[in-house]
Every structure is written in structure tokens, then in C-alpha cells.
């Protein structure tokens, strides 16, 4: 069956040209997906359509109602009997190549981040009084303020991790924006289906969002979409982001979520015989989930010397844990380019860095061990991890600081005092998120993505100067 990607309110699907892409990864069967070939004027029409309907149907709603609608949509997608959920469980593993069970668990874990209690957390995180999205509220400095989301928010999504579009799309809805989002060729279906379920749950909002596609890097449609939106948000590599930046109309803002590197740190305290195996299992979980394709996945594990289990032995524990994980959730098939880059990484580790490789290239994980202390660098992904022995974890932040613009999550296994001490040093070095080892790949609701604000970065505040109401008082009919 051919699935149709995209969600195009106000456009006649019959009048559009569609082409079928066979999507898959690393030699699987592939899944046929039809995508519309949209012209720049289609982008303009869609943006105006969602702008118009959002102004009429979405902006007047209290934010609590929007939370309820999203909560209902999420509840449907969490229900494994729901037809859309079933389609996701069927198609997403084929399209992305990820193990089906891993996709199923990952979907559930991600969707759980967007239920009502979590959505309230998103709101509370950015607005002490979320009613500021509904009307003017008193401001601490005096006066009143109301937060207005952009009339149309444009999204350019990446396709590395299923359900990634949820993060920005939900935020766009919470600030009452019309949304137009461009899906990646690598995974165009999740956002499409989310939009369809939303339209089903709340028909009055059916025309407030659109999901579009064009071949990544295609100039004209991208320019047209950016032109038609008030604020844009993009995920991607530095070159793609630079291209998008170059296409932004002057005076409009682009929120960029570029490539990031994350890593893990394991203190000697986490390496006593009773805890080391669990520590390794948690690290393996972070490394293997979605095959390291997320920005929050570790590239390097720094392991402190002096514990009962030495870093070298820990590397073997980790290899064992990865092996066990791979047994339950196999790595996806690699493309020739990925296989080549993994082979090159392994050779590089061995020959250029003198690292000890654990395991052979036939397995679906690679662990290299560096005795040397300094070894921060990117992995080729797909469950390839470098374990670096260090004398003191406190030495790590200065080693990673040169890469500050690239740093994101650090998974830490350490006692409380060390956790906070390291967090301070890592924050100075540019790291924006500290997680428990094992939780790196599941950011919590309302987290500050790359250190930024989910909702308040999207809105602008209109404020009523503190002196305006008294001045208005003098003009009231009831003025004495």
C-alpha cells in the first residue's frame, strides 16, 4: 500500500502532482510513500490558509483547551489498537530501518512526554502564569502582558529520529500559531499522521496546520515557505542550516537546532562490583537507542580510574551490554556509506589512535578503548563508542570546551556532590543538559533544548505600560 505523506488543507489533492518514493534504509524492502510536488505558490497559499484559520479558530481558544486537544491526540497515538498507531508501528521501522520493537518503545516513550500533565509542565517552564497566552496578565514589574505566538510558524524537520516533529509542532500549537512544517525525506509520515489525527479529534483546528515536503535543499519552495511564515525553526547540519539562513527574508527570525555532540561520564563510585554492570547497561541503552542518531546520544564515554572495576574492564562490560541490547534490538542495516564510515572509524581508532578494539566488525556494535585520557571526538554513529580512561572526571570539561558550540547532553553516573560540581564545570564549557546515564535519549517535557526556551522563544510579549491603566482611568465614564 502506498501511504500519502503531507497534510495540505485548502489544496485539492487531485490537482497536485504526486510522486512515489520508496523509503527504506540499508537494504530493507522499502515502503512506498507518495509525496506531493509542491510549487512555491502552493507554499504561499498553504501558509495563508493556516494563518487565516488559526486566527479564526485557534487563537481564540484558551490554552487549556489546546492542551486537552493535544492530550486526546496523544492518547490515541499511545493506544496500540488505534489505526494510526498501527500504521506507525508498521511503517516507521521500514522507513527508518530501526528495529520494530525499538521504534514501538521509542514512540511510546516520546508520546508520553506530551500528555496533559507534561504539556502543563511545558507551559509552566516558560510562563509563571500560562494564562498570559490567553489574555493580559499582571507583570511583576507592574503593568500587564500578553504573549502572542507568530501568526504562522514554519518548521523544517530532520528525519533522524521518529516523532522528532512533535517537539516543535506541539510548541507551535501551544502558542496558538498556524503551523507549516516540512518533513524530511527520511521520515515524512509521523507528522502527516499526527496532523490527520488532530483534525479528527478537533475538526475546528483541521485547517490550522499543514505538513509539506520538498527535496531537501530545493531552493524555491523553501524560500516561499520562509517568506510566508513569521518565524521559522530548523533542524539540520551546519551546511543545511547555513543554506536555510541564506534564504531567510530580512528581518525574520530563524531558530536553529544544529548538529550536536553528547557524551557520558562515569565516576569511580559507579564502578563498584555491585553497580558496574548496571552502569554499563545504562550506558549501552543511551548508545544503542536509535543507533546513536539523536543529538543526545553519546559519542564518547569518559571513565574514571580508581574504581573497583577499571576503565579497561568497564569497556568490556559495556561491550557485553551492547551485545545484549543488540540481541533484543538489532542495529538497523547499514548503507554502504555507513558501513564504509564505520570501517574507517574502526581503522582510525586502531591505527591512528592506537586504541584497543573490542569485538569484531561483524557485530552490530563497536567499542574502542583509549588508555590515554584525552580522546574527545565524534563517533561515526551506529553503535560505535569510544571509552576513554581519565584520572579525574573534573579534567574532562576543559578537554571538551573547545567544542562548546557543539556540546549538548552529558550523561553522568556520579554521586550527588560530584554531579553538581561537574554540572557547573560542564555548563561553563558549553554543555546544556545533564542527564542520568540511561536517560540521555529521553529528554523530559519542557527541557531547554540546546539551552533555549521552547515556548518563550516563539512568542512576543505585548505589554501594557504600568501607567496606562491609571491614565485610562481618567477617561472612564465613572471617573469622579
Amino acid at each position: 500500500m502506498v501511504d500519502h505523506a503531507c497534510y495540505l488543507p485548502g489544496l485539492d489533492p487531485q490537482a497536485l502532482r504526486w510522486k512515489t518514493l520508496t523509503l527504506g534504509h540499508g537494504g530493507g524492502l522499502g515502503h512506498d510513500v507518495a509525496v506531493p510536488v509542491l510549487e512555491p505558490q502552493d507554499m504561499t497559499r498553504l501558509a495563508e490558509h493556516v494563518r487565516h484559520h488559526a486566527a479564526r479558530n485557534l487563537r481564540p481558544l484558551p490554552v487549556s483547551r489546546i492542551v486537552d486537544v493535544i492530550d486526546t491526540v496523544i492518547a490515541r497515538l499511545l493506544d496500540r489498537q488505534d489505526p494510526y498507531r498501527r500504521r506507525m508501528e508498521h511503517a516507521l521501522p521500514i522507513v527508518t530501518g530501526y528495529d520494530a520493537q525499538m521504534v514501538r518503545l521509542g514512540l511510546t516513550r516520546t508520546l508520553k512526554t506530551f500528555r496533559k500533565p507534561e504539556l502543563l509542565r511545558f507551559l509552566a517552564e516558560d510562563f509563571p502564569n500560562p494564562a498570559i497566552l490567553d489574555g493580559f496578565q499582571p507583570l511583576p514589574k507592574g503593568g500587564y502582558g500578553q504573549a502572542f505566538g507568530p501568526g504562522v510558524l514554519g518548521h523544517i524537520w530532520a528525519g533522524n529520529v521518529p516523532a522528532l516533529p512533535l517537539w516543535s509542532l506541539v510548541c507551535g500549537l501551544l502558542v496558538k500559531s498556524g503551523n507549516i512544517g516540512k518533513v524530511a525525506t527520511a521520515e515524512p509520515l509521523f507528522a502527516t499522521w499526527f496532523a490527520q489525527v488532530l483534525a479528527d479529534v478537533a475538526p475546528e483546528l483541521a485547517d490550522c496546520l499543514a505538513v509539506v515536503w520538498w527535496q531537501g535543499g530545493d531552493d524555491a519552495p523553501e524560500r516561499a515557505m520562509l517568506q510566508a511564515t513569521d518565524l521559522a525553526l530548523a533542524y539540520g547540519g551546519s551546511e543545511a542550516l547555513a543554506d536555510i539562513h541564506g534564504r531567510m527574508p530580512p528581518g525574520k527570525r530563524l531558530l536553529e537546532f544544529g548538529h550536536k555532540v553528547s557524551f557520558a561520564m562515569i565516576s569511580a563510585a559507579a564502578l563498584d562490583p555491585a553497580k558496574a554492570a548496571d552502569t554499563a547497561r545504562r550506558a549501552a541503552d543511551d548508545i544503542a537507542r536509535y543507533d546513536q542518531q539523536g543529538c543526545f546520544a553519546p559519542h564518547v564515554v569518559f571513565v574514571e580510574k580508581g574504581g573497583h572495576v577499571s576503565p579497561r574492564v568497564f569497556a568490556r562490560y559495556l561491550a557485553g551490554a551492547l551485545s545484549a541490547f543488540g540481541h533484543r534490538y538489532p542495529r538497523r542495516g547499514l548503507t554502504m556509506a555507513e558501513a564504509n564510515s564505520l570501517a574507517a572509524w574502526r581503522h582510525q581508532e586502531e591505527f591512528a589512535h592506537g586504541a584497543q578494539m573490542i569485538g569484531d566488525a561483524l557485530g552490530d556494535w563497536s567499542v574502542s578503548f583509549h588508555e590515554g585520557g584525552s580522546g574527545f571526538g565524534p563517533s561515526c554513529l551506529n553503535r560505535a563508542i569510544r571509552v576513554v580512561a581519565v584520572d579525574d572526571l573534573a579534567d574532562v570539561p576543559s578537554q571538551v570546551a573547545p567544542y562548546r558550540t557543539l556540546l549538548q547532553t552529558v550523561g553522568i553516573a556520579a554521586p550527588p556532590d560530584a554531579l553538581f560540581k561537574l554540572a557547573g564545570l560542564l555548563g561553563e564549557a558549553g554543555v546544556t543538559r545533564i542527564a542520568a546515564l540511561g536517560d540521555m535519549t529521553t529528554p523530559e517535557a519542557g527541557w531547554h533544548h540546546d539551552g533555549r526556551f521552547n515556548l518563550s522563544d516563539l512568542v512576543q510579549i505585548t505589554e501594557i505600560d504600568a501607567r496606562a491603566p491609571p491614565a485610562a482611568d481618567t477617561l472612564a465614564a465613572y471617573d469622579d
Binding site: 555532540v261 542518531q293 572509524w345 567544542y403
Partner: protein, 360 residues
């Protein structure tokens, strides 16, 4: 066995018209044993893969060295300072380190080149007037390609053959004169050079509004590789342009594929259609493998090339390239360099990481 024994054996092997699978296997295992005994880094590498002369019974089991390793390891069976020649790769990756191949002697290298070149490029013609679009071996003492072309011009060129690249680039007047003379006398001409030099030459000739019609028997040899040195052309466009500019049929435009990490070359039988099928001589075996596992991929599927070149006895016979190819009945179609995987999402690609660190 000593180096002299091996080299004598190999010279004999190369000079035979063909080799049986058994003879190739026996010779390959002998050379593997020699390298295992005399090339310490290679022995360590082979042992780490569980391969020793005791366990390897077939040439396809000889562990291939990834070409990247040449940048970090001195893979040689002789003292590097006693090498007769050191050939280096042109790449400048990995902290500026270049891959090096130390040759204790060049007798087998030269014999391999001559025998194969005579068969595949000269096609029975003993000598041709040659123009070489490449710097001389004296200008580039560490270039295996310069050495190769030196063997071509000295072994197969007529006395009026010449090198056409000087310190200032292509010597256009001499090139034009040589082409004109060939046209006038009807004596066939051979133009040899790196692909990018040929592109420069075509650009220069076209800028003068010239076109040549070289006489029958003329031919062109390109050694592949643009490496960002000039306009990069699609293969079909490249051979069309060569054919139109010099009046040599595409079937007589022969592509050579060689590398610093080998002592033998591969040729196609002209480029009437692209991509052409390339193959090596009977002392080389090539396999198309999965780069990760080293296992051969099914015929018709894309993999990377692994070569076992007996003539490379001074270093290692068996290497794993980063060149993507498809095996065919008579050889392989070269598809270009396998790039690393692009990171598609928000995680980081190695190249981007290095770039960011440089910028930061």
C-alpha cells in the same frame, strides 16, 4: 625465502602469459609469509585478525590493510631509510600525514608496469610518440604516477616524446606543436596524463578555438582522479570532450586506475560506454567486498574494492580501498570514492566536527 628469491619468482610469474588459480594462490601465500616475517606492523595487524601463515590457506583470506592505515603505519619489509623509492599519497588528511609506500627495490614494480602497459595501452605497438601531461619524476620524486609515466615514456615512447608540464603548468605551445606535427605526418600520437591535466589541456586548446584530428592509432590515457584540481566532469562528458578536442575515438581513450598503495595498475578497454569495465593483470586479483566485514558482496551489488597485488611484495599484497565498485564478468566498474555517511539529523558527522573545531 629471501627478498631476492621472492623477487626472482615474481619476475618469472609476471613474464608468464597467464597464471592458474593454483599458481596464483601458491605465490600469494609465499609472499604473505614473507611479509608476515619481515613487515612487523603488518604481522601485528594480521595477528589481531587471527590471520597467520599457518591459518591462511587461500589468498582471499589474506587480511587486507585499509588504505587509511598507510597514513599511520610504516608498512614495509625493509628499513625505511634503505628504500630505493618512497611513494606518497597526495592526500593531506589526518593531520597532514600522507600514506607512504617504501619500496626496497623497484624491479618487480617496473616489470609489472611494463608488461601490463604493453598489453593494455600499447596493444602491441612497440613505441609511440608520447606527450605526458604530468610533472616529471625529477619534479615529483615521491609520486608513483610520475614514476609510472617515466617508465611509459622511456620504455615505450619514441625519442621525440616529451613531458609537457613544467614549473609553470602546461606548456601549451609545445603541446600544440606536437599535435600539429602528428596531424601533419600521420604518425599516431599518445597523450597521457592525470584527468585534471587533460581537462586543463582541453580548456587551453578550446580557448584558442582549436580542435585536432589525430591520426588513426592515436590514443589517450587518463589516470583518473580530479581531486578538486579542476572542473569536475561527468565521465561521459569527459570522454566526449576528449574525443572532440583531440579527434581520438572514445574507444581509444583508455582509463588507468592505480594507487600509491599498489605496484600494479588496472585498465579498461576504452571508454566507448561508461562506466567502463576495468581489470588488472594475471598477478592481481580484485574482490568487491563489504568494507566492514571484508566478505565479497554478491555480483552486481556495490561494494568496495580489495586488491591482492603480488607485485606489491615490498609492502603488503592485499589492501582494502575506499573505491566503490561493482563486479562484472571481466572485471569491475569503478563508481568513485565511497563517501562517509552524511549525518541526516541532529547528530554529528565527523567532518563537520573537525570543521567546527577549526572554526572555534
Amino acid at each position: 625465502m629471501t627478498r631476492d628469491d621472492i623477487s626472482a619468482d615474481l619476475l618469472k610469474f609476471i613474464s608468464t602469459p597467464q597464471s592458474s588459480e593454483d599458481a596464483f594462490n601458491a605465490q600469494a601465500l609465499t609472499v604473505f609469509d614473507f611479509q608476515f616475517q619481515n613487515n612487523q606492523p603488518y604481522a601485528t595487524f594480521a595477528r589481531s585478525r587471527g590471520k597467520t601463515p599457518r591459518t591462511v590457506k587461500h589468498w582471499s583470506d589474506i587480511p587486507p590493510v585499509p588504505i587509511n592505515a598507510f597514513k599511520s603505519l610504516d608498512l614495509t619489509c625493509c628499513q625505511p631509510d634503505k628504500a630505493a623509492a618512497v611513494f606518497m599519497t597526495s592526500g593531506t588528511t589526518q593531520g597532514g600525514r600522507r600514506g607512504k609506500s617504501y619500496h626496497a627495490a623497484l624491479d618487480v614494480y617496473d616489470a609489472s608496469m611494463r608488461r601490463n602497459f604493453a598489453d593494455r595501452f600499447m596493444r602491441g605497438t612497440p613505441r609511440l610518440t608520447m606527450g605526458i601531461l604530468f610533472p616529471t619524476a625529477a619534479m615529483m620524486p615521491n609520486s608513483s604516477l610520475a614514476h609510472y609515466l617515466d617508465l611509459a615514456i622511456t620504455g615505450f615512447g619514441t625519442p621525440d616524446s616529451q613531458w609537457l608540464i613544467g614549473p609553470d603548468g602546461i606548456d601549451l605551445p609545445r603541446l600544440t606543436q606536437a599535435l600539429e606535427q602528428s596531424e601533419a605526418t600521420g604518425q599516431s600520437y599518445a597523450l597521457l596524463g592525470a584527468s585534471f591535466s587533460l581537462v586543463h589541456a582541453m580548456d587551453a586548446v578550446q580557448a584558442q578555438g582549436r580542435r585536432f584530428q589525430l591520426p588513426p592509432g592515436s590514443r589517450i590515457l587518463d589516470t583518473g582522479g580530479f581531486k578538486g584540481q579542476s572542473r569536475e566532469l561527468e565521465l561521459d562528458a569527459f570522454y566526449d570532450a576528449l574525443s572532440q578536442t583531440f579527434g581520438v575515438a572514445r574507444a581509444d581513450c583508455i582509463g588507468m586506475y592505480g594507487m600509491t598503495e599498489l605496484s600494479s595498475q588496472f585498465y579498461d578497454d576504452g571508454n566507448a560506454t561508461c562506466p567502463s569495465v576495468k581489470s588488472g593483470p594475471h598477478w592481481v586479483r580484485s574482490r568487491v567486498v563489504n568494507p566492514l566485514t571484508g566478505q565479497s558482496v554478491p555480483k552486481g551489488e556495490t561494494g568496495v574494492l580489495a586488491h591482492t597485488d603480488l607485485a606489491h611484495y615490498n609492502i603488503v599484497t592485499t589492501i582494502l580501498t575506499e573505491d566503490a565498485a561493482i563486479e562484472t564478468d571481466n572485471g569491475f566498474q569503478l563508481l568513485g570514492r565511497v563517501s562517509g555517511a552524511e549525518a541526516v539529523g541532529c547528530s554529528m558527522a565527523v567532518d563537520a566536527f573537525l570543521k567546527a573545531a577549526k572554526a572555534g
